[in-house]
Subunit: 320 residues, 2 copies
């Protein structure tokens, strides 16, 4: 993949991605809750990517990456490193294309994450739990099998794929919203969504929501220089990673603000979504609602859309 | 309400109910899961009434009952006895109509159930935990306030309202299904749905799913005489009640079969829905999927619709 694709990441690229992945992913519903609206003081629309295939929006980018590869190259398979939702999503996409997916995981990865990749037919390759070991294993693997590396977020096809959820949202809502929030980790979802929203809802504020304990996107956005996340401390396991380079460039161009929130508020928001909306969401997915509930003044009376990014919570280890 | 309404409970009554309640209830999504289909060996469509307002299909019948009352009578309020979803749904419907809802509950009812009724603006009246005390309190209450009793299931307006979920399902699916399953407790959902399905999908088998430990509907259906449920033993708290009289008559006429399942299978099905579909469902809602998974031969290769009846599970006391 790399950054050398001939096409820019624009609305047309997001539209092509949406068309390409449509046969393979769910058109997820947009749900509302009177009780949550009352509590938030605004009108909320939840785009339920927790109900997406593989349990997260990651299925969009992974399918776009797999199905935009030239056939000859695609047939040699795809590979990635991931201990989270991207690995499972890539395994699912590869399975749909009838090709192999190799997922490099640290040998101390939780069993449930390993099982998720295998449940979708992915082949897990273990390595020592260091960045160097992971990259060495991935390089060796791609060299040996001819598989194409599909990065989890810092990739044009992945970013364009993630943006397709906003195309659906625009079709599903009768009118634009005033604010659109989603979590930001590596920035695939936020960058792709911001590209689509900037073109289709030009007056909408696009806001990244981030845990205070992993606030590299907020620091990068404020300083104008991409910062790393060295020691993330947050329950939102999907958001511990550092912002990607391509992602940061698009976020600088199209995003209005990055707002942070404490884990205690994220856990309260997660519990509210479970109990009031009957939706299983993982901690990362609750971060945007936590932002809205702790910054009511910013959103009072607005129409606000939130992307519920994923539902892969461990139901045997809940944070309450 | 009573059984003396001039209109029969037919497709036209269900259609009138659907129109009457449309401004007040959600049109719930129909979701699918490749993984659950693989496990079940058939193509499943889940009508998500757990995502309905008040967290259960009960909002449909309660709104139809409230909004079909003549205005003068409606203004004096509504009343019921319930320690479950109907009480909360009636409180919600009354609140939408700007009238009072009185809910008689045993003084040993769980705090969370009491809170649910109050959260929707209902007024809770406590009584001793016996049938006699409950009926006496309800009679006194209706006499004193002029409120109309809205029964939880044995009522034409309630039955017609519950049936509206099948009207939506018929609109949402491109083709009829071979089998339609839903839980049966008092029989409001099953009776109303069977009336609609018999008219719109005449070739579809309509199946009630019931816990083996509260199998009065299965016994009634088999014997042709309505049986009581004296000592229910099941985790599916919404299904411990006995089948209603009107409900039984409609079920005899329009339902194909009542199938029972053990609680262990219900818990496994509930966990599957939580982990694979990211939907919070209460035990009662998982009974139909448990039936499908334990009777694969009956449904092999079919298109099967299941009504996920509710999501009011206590997330601090999960059965696994």
């Amino acid at each position: 993949m790399g950054h050398e694709l001939p096409h820019p990441i624009d609305l047309a690229a997001v539209r092509r991605a949406a068309g390409r992945i449509a046969p393979h992913v769910h058109r997820t519903p947009v749900l509302t809750s009177h009780l949550v609206n009352q509590q938030a003081g605004c009108q909320l629309f939840f785009k339920c990517e927790n109900l997406q295939r593989s349990g997260a929006f990651k299925a969009r980018g992974a399918h776009n990456a797999v199905f935009s590869l030239p056939e000859k190259r695609r047939k040699r398979g795809v590979a990635t490193h991931s201990s989270g939702n991207h690995g499972a999503a890539l395994a699912l996409a590869a399975s749909g294309a009838g090709i192999s997916a190799y997922v490099v995981m640290p040998d101390n990865a939780p069993t449930c994450k390993i099982e998720a990749v295998r449940a979708y037919g992915g082949e897990v390759r273990f390595c020592e739990p260091t960045l160097a070991a992971r990259e060495a294993e991935l390089d060796a693997l791609c060299h040996q099998t001819g598989a194409t590396f599909v990065p989890p977020f810092d990739d044009p096809a992945v970013i364009a794929g993630q943006g397709s959820c906003v195309l659906e949202l625009v079709e599903q809502l009768a009118e634009p919203v005033d604010s659109l929030l989603m979590p930001v980790g590596g920035g695939g979802l936020l960058a792709g969504s911001a590209v689509a929203a900037a073109a289709l809802w030009p007056d909408c504020a696009v806001i990244g929501a981030e845990p205070a304990g992993a606030d590299d996107a907020a620091r990068s956005f404020a300083s104008g220089v991409r910062q790393s996340q060295l020691s993330p401390r947050t329950i939102a396991d999907g958001l511990r990673t550092s912002l990607g380079a391509l992602n940061f460039a698009l976020i600088q161009k199209h995003v209005t603000a990055i707002l942070t929130v404490d884990d205690a508020d994220t856990i309260a928001a997660m519990r509210l979504i479970w109990t009031r909306m009957k939706l299983l969401v993982e901690p990362s997915a609750a971060v945007p609602l936590a932002v809205v509930l702790t910054r009511r003044d910013l959103f009072a009376g607005q129409r606000v859309a939130i992307v519920l990014s994923g539902g892969n919570a461990d139901i045997d280890a809940l944070p309450w």
